[in-house]
């Protein structure tokens, strides 16, 4: 099997766009991991939920389709939405409303 044939098989299995999403998610992990100490934890958590959603979206066509589909929506999507709202709110409460300088990082 040639390299072209192999890539064709992978794209047929996962889909080209979803693979791109997974790659971007993996690359995006790098700054998140590097700056996790300086970043409030709810923002890190929000990216974690986005990563879970990207992972589940890619692999639900390969294994455990139902479980990964539910994980994508219940954990990844819902968790990311809620985490975004909570992250913005808690940052405001701790650093803006109280006029403090202490962050969660």
């Amino acid at each position: 099997m040639t390299e072209e044939q192999t890539l064709s098989t992978v794209f047929e299995t996962f889909g080209a766009q979803t693979i791109v999403v997974l790659i971007i998610a993996l690359i995006g992990l790098v700054p998140v991991v590097l700056y996790r100490q300086k970043t409030p934890r709810w923002f890190v958590l929000a990216y974690g939920f986005l990563f879970v959603a990207a992972f589940a979206t890619n692999f639900e066509n390969v294994l455990l389709p139902t479980a990964l589909n539910l994980t994508e929506h219940f954990v990844g999507n819902l968790g990311a939405g809620v985490a975004f709202a909570v992250a913005a709110y808690t940052y405001r409460r701790k650093n803006i409303d109280t006029d403090g300088t202490e962050g969660e990082a």
């Binding site: 970043t39 890190v44 819902l78 939405g81 405001r92």
Partner: protein, 535 residues
């Protein structure tokens, strides 16, 4: 499956979360300065996320297709990339900037503080220089003032020396003039004047005290002499008490001897009472035995009475039977008379019959003889019966008399039994009384011994009192001697108080001023170097 059915609602909720995050992010963007870049990126990501979730939600309602998938995936990729690189990276940069800003602020504050410190040091140095200049000028002025003051002090010292000489001679009425250009001289004058006031007041108090001591010494002398006399009286009284105590002790010893004798007598009485109690118990026992014997005698007498009644009945029955025998004997006697008559008739007939009747006549004689013997025998029997009846009546009378006597004896025994009961009861009462007397006598003996012991103790105490009285008498004599010495000492003290008064009179003080509680300063000279002043 239920989970898959509510996925559209979950995605819608996620969309709402992104929208809320975008709204709060916009407000945070407006309210911050340093983090504005981050919040702009965050709002962009939130809006993109909301669009992405909106497309995903719409797909569940049938609006789908290749374009929707492409848009959804692209938005997801944008969200991931922009959030990770743009937002998180920006947040890290903002954090670094914040730290750097804080450090800069801290250093600026330190520099400001150092500048303030330097300015303050400069001002302090300027102030110190001005103060040094002022001090130099003051020193020059002070030197001139010191020269003037030195002259003034010499004048004041001369005046003070004169006042001190007067005070050394015993005149405490002079005072120093405290008015001076020098505070130390003023203080010396005031202190000296205060000291003289106190000395003057003290001398006045000592004079008053010496007067009181002299008066008290005289009173004490008088009191000591009275005490001496009283002590002598006490000594005499104690000697009398000692003699009385000795006599009392002797009497108590006699009483103790008498009590011991009484105790022995009481013990003998107790012993006799015990013997009487024993005899009383024996008498009571004997009385109870007599009661029993009397009861037995009553029983026996009753049996005898019963038996004699039975005997009387038997004798009367025997008399009745003898009467019957007498009647039978009368019948036999009648038969014998009839037989004698028949024998007589037969003899007559035999005589008539002649020889034929000789044999019949013999038989008739024999019958006649037998009838005569029967008549004699019946007469004897009647005689015997009569005698027996007489004896029986006599016996019955005797037995009745004996029964009467037995009854009388029984009543007498009953009376005697009652008397014995009463005697036994009295004896028992006497026994109890004697026992109580015996116990009381024992108690009395014990009490007598106890009283004898107490009297011995009292006699010992009286001896001790006697000894103590002698000691007290000796002490009283010593006290009298001491009081004599005290009287002599108080007379000596009175003389010394008089001497003290005489010596204190040599000091001159202002009595009126010294009598006051406070020290008042007298008039002073007009100028600071004037002569001494009087109070």
């Amino acid at each position: 499956m239920v989970g898959e059915q509510i996925i559209p609602f979950v995605d819608a909720a996620a969309t709402l979360g992104f929208v809320v995050g975008a709204g709060i992010g916009i407000r945070n963007y407006q309210d911050t300065e340093l983090e504005r870049t981050f919040w702009a990126s965050f709002v962009l990501v939130s809006v993109t996320g909301a669009l992405w979730m909106g497309l995903v939600t719409v797909e569940w309602f049938g609006i789908s297709g290749e374009l929707m998938d492409t848009l959804s995936t692209s938005l997801q990729a944008i969200v991931l990339g922009v959030f990770s690189v743009g937002s998180i990276g920006t947040m890290a940069v903002v954090a670094d900037l914040k730290e750097s800003q804080a450090e800069t602020e801290r250093r600026r504050a330190e520099a400001e503080q150092a500048r303030t410190e330097a300015e303050r040091s400069k001002e302090e140095a300027e102030t110190a220089r001005e103060e040094a200049e002022t001090a130099r000028e003051e020193a020059e002025t002070s030197r001139k003032e010191a020269e003037t003051l030195n002259d003034h002090i010499e004048t004041k010292a001369t005046a003070f020396s004169a006042v001190m000489d007067r005070a050394a001679e015993g005149d405490f009425t002079k005072r120093m003039d405290p008015e001076s250009q020098n505070a130390a001289m003023t203080e010396i004058a005031e202190s000296f004047n205060g000291m003289m006031d106190e000395i003057e007041e003290t001398v006045a108090q000592i004079r008053s005290f010496a007067d009181r001591v002299a008066d008290s010494s005289r009173e004490v002398t008088t009191g000591a002499e009275e005490s001496q006399r009283a002590s002598e009286q006490v000594s005499d009284s104690i000697q009398t008490i000692s003699a009385d105590a000795e006599a009392q002790s002797e009497q108590l010893r006699d009483i103790a001897t008498e009590m011991q004798s009484l105790s022995g007598t009481v013990e003998e009485v107790a012993s006799s009472a015990d013997e009487v109690a024993t005899m009383s118990r024996q008498a009571a026992e004997t009385g109870r035995n007599g009661q029993d014997a009397a009861a037995e005698a009553v029983d026996e007498m009753t049996a005898i009475e019963t038996k004699s009644q039975e005997t009387i009945d038997e004798i009367e029955s025997l008399a009745a039977e003898i009467d019957e025998i007498g009647e039978i004997v009368d019948v036999i006697n009648d038969i014998a008379e009839e037989t004698n008559m028949l024998a007589l008739n037969a003899s007559i007939e035999a005589v008539r019959a002649g020889e034929a009747g000789d044999g019949f006549g013999v038989v008739a004689d024999e019958i006649k003889q037998l009838a005569g013997e029967v008549a004699d025998a019946t007469n004897d029997v009647e005689t015997l019966i009569t005698e027996i009846q007489t004896s029986t009546e006599t016996a019955v009378a005797d037995i009745r008399e004996m029964g009467d006597r037995v009854a009388s004896g029984t009543e007498t025994i009953d009376v005697a039994l009652d008397s014995l009961d009463e005697i036994a009861s009295k004896v028992e009462e006497s026994n109890r009384s004697i026992q109580e007397i015996s116990a009381a006598t024992d108690d009395q003996a014990t009490s007598t011994e106890s009283v004898a012991g107490m009297i011995d103790d009292v006699a010992e105490k009286a001896d001790q009192v006697n000894t103590e009285s002698e000691n007290v008498s000796a002490a009283a004599e010593e006290q009298t001697s001491s009081l004599t010495q005290v009287a002599q000492n108080t007379r000596s003290l009175s003389d010394q108080a008089d001497e003290l008064q005489r010596r204190l009179s040599q000091f001159s003080i202002d009595e009126a001023a010294a009598g006051a509680a406070g020290v008042e300063q007298g008039p002073t000279a007009a100028d600071g170097s004037g002569p001494a002043v009087d109070r």
